[in-house]
């Protein structure tokens, strides 16, 4: 119990003095996970929307792959990204191993199926007759996709939250491909893991508070937008 109180007190002190290492690690976490989530949205949203709107040979297989990939173990992603980016690997010439870019790639691979899967579920919740109505009004494929995404934008916010959550909370892949190098590729999750292994609970707890605050504030903003819209829809009886 003593250890917990000592840890909390130390963490509060580190946060109060705005420890520069914590700030640097937090900034890099935001940059890496933010970029990975952004890329996951660019790829995942159109893929999810297309799968939700159109039928084609192999669609079921693709949907099952995406659903399975939503629970992809980060260490497996880390392993395969490492194999590809390793000096002798197929993409070794890019020199990305142990860089923040490698961490972005790994987090993107983890977040993209989550974004695609949640988007797909959101699109499938739209009344199929509305899709037919939009088609009959003369929507082209891209117009239909845009309108469907607009209609399911509450689900898009859920996709964004889920994608960011998956990216910011993973540790295995970032550790493997980023190397947890101080001042270069150390993010909150890898730093917490390392501090715990060193027995530095004050620092680990301080970092965990920052990670929770970062994750919660992103969720809070998105949830506020989402719930404002869904409340509006409920009270107006849609």
């Amino acid at each position: 119990m003593n250890l917990i109180w000592r840890g909390i007190a130390g963490a509060c002190r580190l946060l109060w003095v705005m420890d520069p290492e914590i700030l640097r690690i937090t900034a890099l976490t935001g940059k890496v996970s933010g970029t990975a989530t952004f890329l996951a949205l660019i790829v995942g949203v159109p893929v999810g929307a297309y799968l939700g709107l159109y039928d084609f040979p192999g669609r079921k297989l693709l949907v099952s792959v995406i659903n399975a990939a939503m629970g992809l173990p980060p260490v497996v992603v880390g392993l395969w990204v490492s194999i590809f980016l390793w000096r002798n690997g197929p993409l070794g010439f890019l020199g990305l191993m142990f860089t923040p870019a490698a961490m972005i790639i790994a987090q993107f691979i983890i977040a993209a199926p989550v974004v695609a899967g949640v988007t797909l579920a959101g699109i499938q919740q739209i009344n199929p007759k509305l899709i037919m109505q939009l088609q009959s009004l003369g929507a082209t494929r891209s117009q239909l996709m845009w309108l469907a995404l607009r209609e399911s934008r509450l689900s898009l916010l859920a996709a964004l939250m889920a994608g960011f959550g998956a990216a910011v909370s993973e540790v295995g892949a970032s550790m493997m491909v980023g190397g947890n190098i101080l001042g270069y590729s150390r993010v909150l999750t890898t730093a917490i893991s390392m501090e715990v292994s060193r027995g530095e609970f004050e620092m680990a707890m301080a970092l965990s508070f920052v990670l929770l605050a970062l994750s919660y504030s992103a969720s809070y903003v998105l949830t506020s937008i989402q719930q404002r819209r869904s409340f509006h829809a409920r009270v107006s009886g849609r």
Binding site: M132, Q133, L137, T140, R150, A233
Partner: protein, 223 residues
């Protein structure tokens, strides 16, 4: 007279069951046709096939004499027709945005869009609702919005599924009158699906009776 919409041997099957079975139909410009029949007769499915939002299992459809292919030109064929479903199916936006939707999808000049939308909002008596959100209007008002959205497209053929389901009394009579006047003025074809016998006789010059996916008989309404 030139046919604005025609179908030959049109069939639609789901899991081996024929929902629409070898239907032949022809709609000339300015002609009004009503389809009646019990629930499950296949009327709405037939309308969706004619509106080109369902792909037939077999058969051919012509729009303005041109054979419809379900490839690249499908959107341009759809844009010559207007289909109104039984549900209002409004998008998340204002009444004005909903009526303008089809015109905007056609990338029509914004001034022309404004003129047309304002005209049809006025004619359907919903101009005062223009800025209201689609969630904040009644069922009857939403029906008018859905109809105004289709009319604003000024299509070659208009396909209406139970158009007066949630409109009653004077409003129904007004809209019906407006609709018939519009068909007469523009020379467009009109196909209406309805349960209501009076409505069928008022809306159609020709009445088609359907059951179990097949066409039972065709009759002319005496004037």
């Amino acid at each position: 007279m030139r046919e604005c919409l025609a179908a030959e041997n049109l069939s639609y099957c789901v899991n081996g069951r024929r929902i629409v079975d070898s239907i032949n139909i022809s709609l000339r410009r300015g002609e009004r046709l009503t389809i009646v029949g019990p629930n499950g007769a296949g009327k709405s499915t037939l309308l969706s096939l004619l509106g080109l939002v369902l792909r037939p299992s077999s058969g051919t459809i012509w729009v303005g004499g041109e054979k419809v292919d379900y490839g690249r030109r499908l959107v341009s064929f759809r844009r010559r027709l207007a289909l109104v479903f039984q549900e209002n199916l409004l998008i998340d936006g204002s009444v004005w945005d909903n009526v303008a939707l089809g015109l905007r999808l056609r990338k029509m000049d914004p001034r022309e869009v404004r003129t047309r939308v304002d005209k049809w909002l006025e004619r359907f008596g919903i101009a005062h609702l223009a800025r209201r959100h689609a969630w904040q209007i009644s069922g009857g008002e939403a029906r008018r919005v859905a109809l105004a959205r289709a009319f604003a497209l000024e299509p070659e053929a208009l396909l209406l599924d139970e158009p007066f389901a949630s409109v009653d009394g004077q409003a129904k009579a007004d809209i019906m009158q407006d609709l018939l006047k519009w068909v007469e003025q523009t020379g467009a074809g009109l196909i209406t699906v309805t349960h209501d016998r009076e409505e069928a006789e008022a809306m159609g010059q020709t009445i088609i009776r359907m059951n179990a996916g097949t066409l039972l008989d065709v009759g002319t309404v005496p004037r």
